[in-house]
Symmetry: C2
Subunit: 339 residues, 2 copies
DNA sequence: TTGAAAGCGCTAACAT
DNA sequence: ATGTTAGCGCTTTCAA
């Protein structure tokens, strides 16, 4: 155990007990193999005997690597934050924390505001930025300092020296999957799928819209993308969308749980029955709180995503080449409980 | 931003620019008020100008405080771990991480095994131990080193010097609440409430059993506590319990989601209808994945609990007196969706 | 009120 | 192959 309290055994104690110098001990513990195997064994056995654990703080200070990675929690704006982003971040954080510890890293949630990353007390070896927008302030700041970055969501940069890896869900496959499913299950005489997204143009949204439009084009349907006007609530936008009538809109795919909830509420108000008169699908965690059993889920597992991001970042920090990651998304039909 | 990469400005740069010594700068930034307000202002303004942020690693090394707190993830044993503990821990971790960062602390998930805490790489200022059992190895280890500890769940120690604070749910109030509710809703001619718990005698289980027995005694019912035999699965135990018949058992309170799921499965097998023939209640997160709408929930919010634990620990670390915390639990009736 | 010096635990040049 | 020296950024006596 490397605890703080109590008199811990340090490199010096081991050095003394083993009758060697501190640097030899250090050398044995790190650059495995420049010491004679005799001393090596000896030092190691003494170390084990004394219960020596290198103090990471010392290592960190000396090497400039803190073994702490940040998970950037973007600027929070009210309702949407609480409903969707906060739960999502929590899961990302938890997944990243559990993965990180396996590799000897700790997690620091790193809040950001309109000025970018706010004070993160511990120096960060790298960061995970969730859902950046193009030219994201936090990403650009980190890029500028040469920090290693993982984005959960696509990100374009011209910075060729960047240590930046993206992790994103494969909407190019997922969206057709869910639209095909909706069409196959559709009871309407004419299938009319709409897309309901938010105003924030992060890559997730952009990818979703692109895939939707492409599917419509290929399948010969007219694309209908609805976005709340500035200052319009998701619920209002949903009302407007559904007011077109159940012949104009027979199915809606929602960007996330927030928009899905708005659709359900608007449908209830208008006396539209789901899924009989209106099919609803949503990208989100089918196993999450208040998951809507009447909706089709394009299942996202944020805990796993968090773990994946942490793994990628750590791999990057260890000096490996890491390529962008595209996550598969699975389809969970309506009324199906997820184990 | 206190990032690692790039040439950060340190105490020396500030000292030089301000024309004072490093120790004066340090003094200004820490023991607010031993420098003349003139120098103070000056140093602060130069510091701000240069964007100086104390390097926590340096501080930590010198002061022996790492500003990292551990969340101990207990020994994981297979199925129960995945179903109940892992989700619970995740939420605790996320809640603790978000709370911690507000106070300048990072979180390290700290895995433990049968030998206690395994290597946690960063030195910990304190730990949060979830659901310790009496004489818990991890708790005792930490106690021995004088580390600050928060237990999520009651814990008894004779160590008077201990910096140990417990955070627990108020089962003494919660259990009567849920049993009263079940009794009031009961359709059976004779109300017969059973309790279904696990073999692990952590304080949460013990508290639950105690409160249940007391309620039965006061209300004049016979107490019936069911625990899986060693090597018996929860499902098997549930089968045995329900096999007694719907007149012998009209209601079951389950310790957690694992036991609740077992009851539901066994009931389905036996053709017992819930809640008509059998009332089921469970202590857990009513807003969680796969929450059972037919069950009555004694609602636990692990994210909030995690935050509370972190807050208590940090307060302890800052040298405050912190008293044990008892969390209220609320009742969520069956078939009610939680916002 | 301020500064000089020592050192937290460790690693990396450099010397031997 | 091993030891010596210096110093990462900071705090903390202790002296001025």
């Amino acid at each position: 155990m490397s605890m703080t309290a109590g008199k811990r055994v340090g490199i010096k104690q081991v050095a003394e007990a083993a009758g060697v110098s501190a640097s030899t001990v250090s050398q044995v513990y790190n650059h495995k193999g420049e010491a004679s195997s005799a001393t090596r064994e000896h030092v190691l056995s003494i170390g084990a005997q004394l219960g020596y654990r290198p103090n990471v703080l010392g290592q960190a200070l000396r090497s400039g690597r803190s073994r702490v990675i940040g998970v950037v929690v973007s600027y929070r704006d009210s309702a949407v934050w609480d409903q969707t982003y906060l739960p999502y971040y929590r899961n990302i954080i938890a997944g990243a924390a559990i993965e990180a510890v396996e590799h000897g890293y700790a997690i620091s949630a790193a809040p950001s505001n309109e000025h970018g990353l706010t004070d993160t007390f511990l120096p960060l070896d790298g960061v995970i930025v969730v859902d950046p927008i193009p030219g994201d302030l936090v990403v650009e700041q980190c890029l500028a300092t040469g920090m290693a970055i993982i984005t959960d969501g696509g990100y374009e940069t011209s910075n060729s020296a960047a240590r930046l890896v993206t992790v994103r869900s494969d909407m190019d496959k997922g969206i057709p999957k869910v639209l095909d499913h909706l069409q196959a299950e559709s009871a309407a005489s004419v299938f009319r799928p709409a897309l309901f997204v938010g105003p924030r143009l992060d890559s997730y949204t952009v990818d979703t819209i692109r895939a939707y439009k492409k599917w419509c084009e290929v399948a010969g349907f007219e694309a209908a993308v609805t976005t709340p006007e500035p200052s319009q609530s998701p619920l209002d936008a949903a009302r407007t969308l559904l007011a077109r009538g159940i012949r104009a809109v027979t199915a809606v795919h929602c960007l996330n749980e927030t928009y899905c909830a708005a659709i359900f509420e608007a449908a209830a108000e208008l006396g539209i029955s789901i899924p009989d008169e209106l099919q609803v699908s949503v990208a989100g965690n089918a196993a999450a709180m208040g998951a809507e059993r009447r909706a089709v889920y394009l299942n996202l597992d944020p805990v796993e995503t968090g773990a994946r991001c942490a793994r990628a970042l750590i791999s990057l920090l260890e000096g490996n080449d890491v390529t962008d990651i595209v996550e598969e998304v699975t389809l969970v039909p309506a009324s199906q409980v997820v184990g």
